[in-house]
Amino acid sequence: MKYEPVIGLEVHAELSTKTKIFCGCSTAFGAEINTHVCPVCTGQPGALPVLNKQVVHYAAKMGVATHCTVNRLCKSDRKNYFYPDLPKAYQISQFDVPICENGYVDFEVDGEPKRVRFERIHFEEDAGKLLHDEGDGTVVDFNRCGVPLIEMVTRPDIHSAAEAKEFLETVKTTLSYLQICDCRMEEGSIRCDVNVSVRPMGSDKLGTRVEMKNINSFSAAERAITYEVNRQIDVLEEGGQIIQETRRWDDSRGKNMVMRSKEDAQDYRYFPDPDLVAVEIDDAWMEQIESEIPELPQSRYARYIKDIGLQPKEARILSDSFDKACLLDDGVAMNRVDAKAIANWILSDISKYLNDKGLELKDTRLTAAKLVDMIELIEKNTISGNAGKKVLVQLFETDDSVDAIVEKLGLKQVSDEGAIRKLVDEVLAANPKSVADYKGGKKNAIGFLVGQCMKASKGKGNPKMINQLLSKTLEQM
């Protein structure tokens, strides 16, 4: 029998607010143990939470960007359970009224359009971290405790590991476009739990669902889903039954194990947090939120293919990065140089530089205006393409203008016809053998002669002019 996997995801993303969700402590990653803590986030007796409005703002932004209904009255609930990393023994979250409901994202999987619906998006606080190898016993680090998260819960609309991975990439791109999450996977800023069931192909009934936890990367999600789908199919094929349970994914061993069965499911005794009054998003606030939603990747992707004529792969690379897409769009908006030229510079030299240095665009000093200035000089033959590469490095690292850099590095191209002619004549005179070869039919000898001219000009000669003059002179010889 053929089976269809039915997959739903719960994605947790850490919001990039400066301070924690219920206190003024910093959210910065990597600090010394228990230095970003206060009475509130360590659950001291008598301390009270106050909701950080930025969290509401960011969560609502994600909701608007994913076509959700935003509930304008934000209430908080307590999820009660005991664990040493949870100092109050309850997590403040949202239960019956999440801030956002009923949305969706669109994306492509192997060129085919796909839509995954969101059931809900809610905000909540992160827990602390247990450190088991800090000497005697276990140490609890509360620096992470109280860092704001949003949890995004999908409908079971995903039917393959590949779809799941593309969905996660889309969520990540959207978060980075909205500038509400650092999206640093290695710091755990995006994590997900996976619900998997399988059913006979063509059936519209849902199979028994298994939840998988401890998935720490998108590729791990892909592996975990593939494993679990196969496991469930094997069980069914052997006449067994799927048990509703939670399983823990072990990525290093490439398999999962039972964590707890349905019978062990905890009763979290959710109830409205009496310490927090509901926060209302009024019309002015909502308008502000809506005004901050930029054009999203899906739309830019389509535009780059249609308007700039990029290949889908190129359009994807550019639209996947908010910074790169903005650099391109800002550059194109100046309407001074060829849009495709800007795209090509970003796709090639700029991307290479960032990859090599392990940087992001926002870590550099490059601006769209300067990039356009530079390309313009190339288009006007003031500098060569090669000189452009040298200018670019300076644009990343300094605040100098393009003109100043060209001046400083002496990159201005020699395009004076008299000067070029002199060069060409000298080179032809000095290389009679190559001239003879050319005349004898070896047309590619011109390459060597161009090279000699460039060398003689110390790289500053306009290669196009050199080429033209050489060809013309050789033909006339």
């Binding site: 009475p39 009270l48 109050k88």
Partner: protein, 485 residues
Amino acid sequence: MELYQKTAAELSAMLKNKEVSSVELTKAAFARTAAVEEKVGAYITLTEEKALADAAAIDAKRAAGEELPLLAGVPVSVKDNICTKGIRTTCASKMLENFNPPYDATVMDKLHAAGLVMTGKTNLDEFAMGSSCENSALQKTRNPHNPDHVTGGSSGGAAASVAAGEVSIAVGSDTGGSIRQPASFCGVVGLKPTYGTVSRYGLIAFASSLDQIGPFGRCVEDAAMLADVLRGYDKMDSTSYPREYDSLTAGLNADIKGMKIGLPKEYFGEGISEEVSKSVLAAAETYRQLGAEVVEISLPLSKYALPIYYILSSAEASSNLARFDGVKYGYRAEQFDGIIDLYVKSRSEGFGPEVQRRIMLGTYVLSSGYYDAYYKKARAAQRAIRADYAKAFEQVDVILTPVAPTTAYKVGEKTSDPLQMYMGDICTVSVNIAGLPAMVQPCGFDSNKLPIGMQLIGPRFGEQKLVNAGLAFEKASGLSNIVAL
């Protein structure tokens, strides 16, 4: 007249006129405490050294000609469920017996800013759960009017410290009557402010939606003066109202001609002792003579208040007290096998029986399958009770009721019967459920010479009406500044 027999209002005037220094007052307070504390047991912790230093600092400021707030230099006791930085804050529980908070509650900052001198931390029922102060795991507090009788609770230590002359004013907290009932039992004035007017930041929570810090005093003016210090918006408490408050003290006015006072018939029937009923009705008669209009009203939902209160308060308590798990602070069992065992043993050994009873009750009403039948229904009923009061306040300015079914009962009389104990809260809990202000003051004595109290309930933010009505009665009855022992 000894210094300990003076009201805070009187002491404030004496300090201002430099008839006495804060150090002298503070020394007198500790001398009085040394003399009576063995009989009363109001305090869990005394902070004499710090108090004398604080008093000296205030005296120095006054000597330098600095303009000081009204209560600057006056000694005050603080209930031991309010966090004091570096000074142990126990909630009268073995769980927090050695807990030193790393921060001060907002009301402590306010007391400090107003120049009050804290004498120490007073006893309470463990985690404020109880109505007689007998649930304290650390201290026995007795009624200064008769040590065979209870002080009431949970702020029993606070009420006793004022009634015994140890201090003239005290800070307590009220979740279901915890200021008002002990004020009544001990013959002092106690004010439970409108929910959200005094910051709860640093008050160790029992039931967050009901808890409110408030003042005790020897007379109405004392309570008004301390309330003025305690009230105010606090951005650290999201349930506190962002608004300004006029001074209750400045607004005191005993002329209540034309004031409409409601007597809810439901509060004078079955279950309330005749002595108490009679005394409160006599107070109503006094009001009539003072020119107030006294009318009978009805609060038909009153009978539901007690179950609603025990469901909501226990539900919140079960969650609020979950943080006491033996991991971070407080009591930790010595022997345990794994994390679950650590939780179970630390909590079983650290919490007393009443606290455990309420945690279990609260856990039950929040459990899946019972939530709708109990918690959700109680919340709906809470809204109905609020509406009940709102309707009543369309007719009257304040409501006059008894505080408790009886006067202070004997120590040990009700400890074996929790339900009987809970019934004692029947007149006070609906005020917390509705978030209203209410004030208690003495209105007579029973045949055993134990004080009888009366309760004035006001509309939201109606504290000024309460203190004015209270002041009028106090002047007419002369029942003010009653120091026992």
